[in-house]
Amino acid sequence: MEALFLLSLVAATSAAALHLARRRGHADRPGALRAAALDALECVGLAVVFFVANLALGALVTVAVRAVTPLFVSLYLSGDVSLLVLSVLQALLYQRWRDPRTRD
């Protein structure tokens, strides 16, 4: 029930955004929505790559600190959900930076 409710909210706001974009003439180009969806998928993929890289680096640093110093760092530290949000930001920035449309 909760899932259905949440998905309905997202579907409703997406439909409203699409309607607005069409009315303002931002979405006239054929295939624009498909291209945007592919871009979004690419961004999600990049976010996963950054997230896994951050996790792996975190685990490596944790194990190294434990091995060479008397300090204790918990492995769970790298599992903080904010790391996922930061990875998404990294992916967005990286994708925009690579995009030829954003270059001078």
């Binding site: 909760e2 899932a3 949440l6 998905l7 979004a40 998928l41 690419e42 961004c43 999600v44 993929g45 990049l46 976010a47 996963v48 790559v49 204790f72 918990s74 492995l75 769970y76 599992g79």
Partner: protein
């Protein structure tokens, strides 16, 4: 390709009972019986002295088992963090819920499950063999292996790993993350030769 897979995985975990089904397969079943001690593993406390959800669930379950007279000693674990320790707070909770002070043992200093097993063996001595181990249902498999390595015979007394019952998308995601975390931890322990 990675993005599509990630989205599919997100959808499957958050919006289907996949995480619940996996949890059902991996979670330990209770084997509650008489033992020499009830051992409640640590799960975190804030710097202001508030037990984490998981720590509280474990502590209350341990207290309940002790009140059912399943073992003479209730052992509360937790790392010794400044300014407050998890074990002393759980000890106070147990006393306030009617467990006699002489039946409570506090074992501090274990920062990982492996260290907790070692510290418990050191503190309880060789006479305590059979323990009721209280921890999360998914964590139980690894914890049991570590405590058996420390020389204990383990009876599982698992508690829920996450709050929320795992029915909302958020709770299912939390459960999925917890499962992933535990599977990685098990892999690490196997590779390191700890279990």
């Amino acid at each position: 390709m990675v993005g599509a897979l990630a989205l599919a995985l997100f959808g499957a975990v958050a919006f289907t009972p996949l995480a619940n089904a996996l949890h059902g397969r991996l979670a330990a079943r209770p084997q509650v019986g008489r033992a020499d001690a009830i051992v409640v593993l640590g799960a975190g406390v804030s710097t202001t002295g508030t037990l984490s959800d998981s720590s509280l669930r474990r502590a209350v379950h341990g207290i309940e088992l002790q009140r059912r007279a399943l073992a003479p000693t209730l052992v509360m674990l937790g790392p010794s963090h400044w300014p407050v320790g998890e074990a002393p707070i759980r000890g106070m909770l147990a006393r306030s819920l009617g467990v006699p002070a002489e039946r409570i043992r506090l074992v501090m200093g274990g920062r990982t499950t492996r260290e907790e097993a070692k510290r418990t063996r050191e503190e309880l001595g060789p006479d305590v063999r059979r323990i009721l181990l209280v921890t999360g249902a998914i964590h139980m498999k690894r914890a049991r292996a570590l405590f058996e390595r420390a020389g204990f015979t383990v009876l599982a007394a698992p508690v829920e790993d996450t709050s929320g019952g795992g029915v909302s998308p958020e709770a299912r995601l939390a459960l999925g993350l917890r499962l992933g975390e535990e599977l990685l931890a098990q892999l690490y322990h196997r590779l390191a030769g700890y279990i």
